[in-house]
Symmetry: C2
Subunit: 430 residues, 2 copies
């Protein structure tokens, strides 16, 4: 038979057991935090009618969306993010949902991008949204969840940058930016971090604004939240103040929140507070972002669902956890390997294994008689902390020997003590 | 803006919160059982080079595979099952794996089929495989895992039909079926359940066998495992006997195993014991199946990986669980809803909520002041068992009122008793 190269596509990944365990551990923390706050998980299809995905992210988004014709000639697309599929989901199912509706969604999305470090073609996003409430309690709860997710992951030093699109609009209007130009101006402000003040001012000039530097000066935040709020007091800052007062009740530290009045977040559909989360421990760019929108499902139905949502970039979070060395290692969930001493002890070893299984001790059996050294090596490679052995001598006395792999120490105990002994062992932590 | 219909494709599904909770609960049991036995989770990409998927499942399989060209002209395919992607994975990564390698994999797969009840275009499979060991301990362990998965799911009355491809070959050879014809004959035997003895015999006739009925008679099992083993004693049944003796050590009941010497399982690559699992509670066809193969990666590399694996049909298992009424209902993970009595109590309610969150009580807060009746209705709709309320009177005395939604009973207690009270409540079970 002609061999086929066992390759995968660039920008997609195989997950080996050790990495998969780390990913699962991180995802479980994220998932549990969402559930703690009453968010319900949903899932949307991967194969989607192309018209429900394309045309929602602008030209660039369309270019980066995987789309194709199926055999029946139907145009199909793969999700580009989880927001548009959620909007489609709400438009189709809202009558079955209890409003306000809080959902979380953890799924893969696809981008037909040139793959590079931290930029994959196939990757996971973790989204939460609340729809059907305009209360600023939502904003504070989202901020609290962001703090809790990262603190439970072991990344406590994060900063939530926050801005009010409403405030930004007011400031820009006061600088004679007309309503129809506001989004274009904000798109240019959004690029300042990348291209600098000067180039941004030049771009503003091109669309008719000579006062670029003035705009930037007026919009720029002060050193602290307090002084920034003072700077903008002559506009309406009650939205930010109410948000901060709720955050205080959630014990979100003021130091974790940073009002950034230049923060723009490209997408036009944000209408209230917007968030962008960065880590102080490492520069991985934005690790979570989102904000309030007025009309989630406008493209799909006439109902008006306002809400707020943020998306956690799972792949970047994993890079950050690895960089901060927050994993203990380990590539197996098993606590015990039951060795098989020789051919004659297969059935006794199976009985020992079955005893562990019944007691719900995560365990595996070496699958055939082999030299003990080989079996120990296997336990070492999989980082299984204990090996249970029963040779002819132990069998005679109804005993077993437990070898602790890290220290190499062995202990022989009666077989009916095995489960208690292994359940009490404290030096097994995932 | 022109509205786009918020549709999904036939054969794909949106999962609403209640169904998602049930799916997660079932999947968690399956996953935990696999991990209990030392299986490591892996994941393979969804977007795959077409040549690593196509041509592995015969003409029909190719026809049912989603395949397309991406914008760069690269041929892409979506996984048709989890076995071929696993073979590709092993061929690419075997040097990094500890052998014998036990993996589990839970992912979506796709079939471009005409959708019908129980037949979707996009669905989940749960696979386990052991590669790198020829020991029959593997077969017994797989049988034990099948029993444990279904028993933990609450479906104890399943039957594992088992056959030996080796035995089948021996019997067919003794009936003058030449080596090159064996697979064609087995394919026809595989169809007997669907088309009946007569039509199957006619098909055998077409490919040169006048002795169809004789073949069926000789292959047919007897009433019990014991008598079937006796019937085939003149062939070599040591493989089945050894398997049964190991199963006994795992306390797999003999009644759960049924030797079915007619069992064929279409795929040609099985070489040892093969399994097919059915439920005695409902006829949903096969809910789990697989067997031993000699050469997993033959199509991808020269290395010879023998192993054994089975695939659990998750969607059929869900149908079975629903039919057997094994879910308790419930559409929220939240145990408590914190009500907001009025506008003046928002911040106090946030403090109460924060106390519950810190104590890891799954809870949510009603997101704005509203009539209590509306908030109770919301808790009812989401099946949240408790509502915590603090009106002006309770606030005065540092108390809260807990309303138990199912009975409608209320109780007022000091606020510092809240967490203990709600953690002790026994009537909350998911």
């Amino acid at each position: 038979m002609k061999k086929i190269q066992p390759i995968i596509l660039k920008g997609t990944r195989d997950f080996l057991p050790a990495e998969m365990m780390r990913r699962n551990a991180a995802m479980e923390i994220i998932r549990k935090t969402f559930e703690q706050f009453g968010y319900s998980q949903i899932e949307t299809p991967i194969l989607s009618p192309a018209e429900t995905i394309l045309g929602k992210y602008g030209k660039e988004g369309d270019r980066l969306t995987y789309a194709f014709k199926d055999r029946g000639g139907r145009r199909i697309a793969l999700p580009y993010d989880l927001t548009v599929p959620f909007a489609r989901y709400v438009a189709l199912n809202y009558q079955k949902l209890a409003l306000p509706f809080k959902r979380y969604q953890i799924q893969r999305v696809w981008r037909a991008e040139k793959p590079q470090k931290g930029r994959l073609r196939e990757f996971y996003q973790c989204d939460i949204d609340i729809i059907g409430s305009k209360s600023l309690i939502c904003e504070a709860e989202i901020a609290k969840i962001i703090i809790d997710v990262f603190s439970r992951l072991g990344i406590p030093d994060i900063i939530i940058k926050v801005n009010s699109r409403r405030l930004m609009d007011m400031v820009l209007r006061s600088l004679n930016v007309s309503l129809d130009k506001i989004n274009s101006v904000i798109h240019i402000i959004d690029k300042i971090a990348k291209i600098g003040d000067k180039a941004a001012a030049a771009e503003l000039h091109k669309i008719g604004f000579q006062n670029g530097q003035k705009i930037f000066q007026t919009l720029r935040p002060e050193g602290t939240n307090k002084s920034t709020l003072a700077k903008f007091l002559r506009y309406d800052v009650s939205e930010l103040e109410e948000f901060f007062s709720y955050c205080q009740k959630f014990e979100v530290l003021d130091a974790s929140l940073q009002i950034d009045t230049m923060l723009a977040r490209g997408l036009d559909y944000y209408t209230g507070l917007i968030f962008e989360v960065v880590s102080q421990d490492a520069d991985f760019g934005t690790i979570c972002a989102g904000g309030r929108y007025d009309n989630l499902c406008g493209m799909f139905c006439g109902k008006d669902f306002s809400g707020i949502g943020v998306s956690f970039g799972f792949e970047r979070i994993m890079l950050l956890l690895e960089k901060l060395n927050l994993f203990r290692g380990g590539s197996s969930s098993s606590k015990v390997l039951v060795a098989i001493f020789d051919k004659n002890s297969i059935k006794d070893s199976l009985e020992i294994y079955n005893t562990l299984i019944k007691a719900k001790v995560p365990a595996e059996i070496y699958l055939e008689p082999a030299k003990l050294a080989k079996q120990f090596k296997f336990a070492d490679k999989k980082q299984i902390p204990f090996v249970v052995i029963q040779g002819p001598e132990e069998r005679e006395k109804n005993e077993i020997t437990i070898k602790r792999m890290q220290s190499g120490k062995q202990k022989t105990i009666p077989i009916n003590q095995m489960v208690i002994y292994l359940s009490n062992e404290r030096d097994f932590l995932v």
